[in-house]
Symmetry: C2
Subunit: 332 residues, 2 copies
């Protein structure tokens, strides 16, 4: 770790990408390039596009090769959820000699569902002595890396159950609509269930199981509506009693038909006690609660910015958050 | 990481050392030597001395060189709290080519109070391509490495406050006596306050401050009695109302006269709500509680056993838990 500021290229300047720019700028990262396909953003200054309130003297381009020519230490990548779709972008960044921290959900642990892409990215990263990591608050921390760390003082772990309950009332309109707040159960089944799912639950189950040394046979996911007991009114929607308030998505990892890993994610309007909670059975049992739960929007960009120095120093290859989660020195 | 079992020497077979042998044996570690100065233990089998209930085919010796000749991957070291006192033992193990995981409290982060010894150990470790780490539940995890990890999703950290409250009623007689349960406040001041203190608070403050990028000016510690409000009776002692129930030890790390790190450790009989609790001020505020708190006795040996594979694979030198805490694959 040197005292030289890290240099970075921002690849994708949507809502999350903009927050990453803000978070990384605050930690002292020096931006040297920016990529986005949106013609409205190309040609503008990164600081302006990312809502920083000041210029960064970096012009947004739609030509990734052009931005990567600045030879950044790290590329902050935030474009798509699918690792297959992201792979060409990640590969180009690695081939340019950069390390990559990405919010592509399926990249957080692609070895289970996308093993071929994982092997290819790992090989490219090693060949070019770079590290590539997929991260965020979820997947990437609260339901996978954090529980892995919290198990350190346990002699044995028999099973783990993680519950994340978020109150969608406090979130933006698109999020409330996405989880089906205010629709009927019939509409939920027809229109919401197939679209609303959080991407990354399978990856979190697989990552956490790997860290806990569970050799999983199977991972299963389910999505169901959370139904409002009482009327809930938000700034944007109203859910009458009996209407859908949001979603509940549960993922199980099985060994011999026993669910050794359970991740229970609930996001609905009117949630009265939002929290993150980890419960282990083992020697001894352990229960840990994050009061109110980690904030969804702030946290992903903070995780990306905070782990960047560790990723730059890490061994080459495709890393996961259980490799690097704590090994960082925070830049305030 | 290979699938070969780690080989280990146990150096020090007191209560904690014995638990380490049990925990490591369960994870598949193969013991190849054992050292203790107690003539009652020398010549006996390690499994028997450590209360394993089975032989390990390892004879305890008081000659460290003899045990180290077995060329172990790792030495589990558990003899003294002082890093200065431990240094010759650690050095001998490193010079023999081993990695070392030690419960020497002051080794957890010796750079603040014992910088010269830290530099010497770091140099010896690098010279012999080994890693040496001081760890345990506290110092080593609950008041330093764990809070560092829990700050990962925060954009900024302004201050951190960690509280660990343990109920001494459930612990052994020597522990209850050590914290002064049942004595008067006068006796506490005269006989207990100077002896009862937990070793490692300064190290935890310094380690956590380093991880959070606080450049501390000063660390201060204080010890005071916890006085019983009501009569408390345990298996071993009775504290009348007004008597001492145990100790409260508070350590502060200061930047510009502001306490940015506060560690508050309380251990007393009759504690009704034992817990570990981490509170951050920053963006955003975060509060995390370990219900009931991590178990003091089980946890230290589990931490030692669980981090061993990571320490064996780590870069050479004197490591701290914020370098290695999550980067492990658990061996169940």
């Amino acid at each position: 770790m040197t005292d030289e500021p890290l240099t970075a290229v921002q690849y994708g300047i949507g809502p999350i990408g903009s927050r990453i720019v803000q978070a990384a700028n605050r930690t002292g990262v020096e931006f040297v390039g920016a990529v986005d396909v949106d013609p409205e953003k190309v040609g503008d200054d990164l600081g302006e596009v990312a809502g920083l309130g000041e210029s960064l003297d970096v012009t947004v381009t739609d030509d990734a090769a052009d931005a990567l020519a600045a030879d950044p230490d790290v590329v902050f990548h935030s474009t798509v959820s699918s690792v297959e779709a992201a792979a060409p972008q990640l590969t180009e960044a690695l081939e340019a000699g950069a390390n990559v921290v990405s919010t592509t959900e399926e990249l957080s642990y692609p070895w289970w569902s996308n093993a071929t892409v994982a092997e290819e990215l790992d090989a490219v990263a090693r060949e070019h002595a770079g590290t590539v990591l997929g991260t965020g608050i979820n997947p990437g921390f609260v339901m996978d890396a954090m529980p892995a760390v919290l198990s350190t003082p346990m002699a044995t772990v028999e099973s783990v159950h993680v519950e994340r309950v978020q109150n969608a009332s406090e979130r933006r309109r698109p999020l409330q609509e996405k989880v089906g707040a205010g629709v009927t159960e019939e509409t939920f089944e027809a229109e919401i269930a197939t679209e609303a799912g959080h991407v990354g639950s399978t990856e979190s189950v697989a990552m956490l199981a790997d860290a806990l040394d569970f050799d999983l046979d199977e991972i299963e996911e389910s999505i169901e509506p959370v139904v409002a007991d009482d009327r809930v009114e938000t700034e944007y929607v109203t859910a009458e009693a009996g209407d859908v308030a949001g979603i509940r998505q549960v993922a199980h990892g099985y060994v011999d038909d026993e669910a050794v890993v359970t991740l229970d994610l609930q996001m609905y309007v009117g949630a009265e006690d939002p929290h993150d909670r980890v419960e282990f059975e083992g020697e001894p049992d352990v229960a840990v609660a994050v009061e109110g739960g980690y904030h969804g929007d702030v946290s992903t960009s903070a995780v990306v910015a905070n782990v960047a120095p560790t990723v730059v120093d890490a061994d080459p290859g495709l890393a996961t958050m259980t490799d690097v989660a704590t090994s960082y020195s925070r830049h305030r």
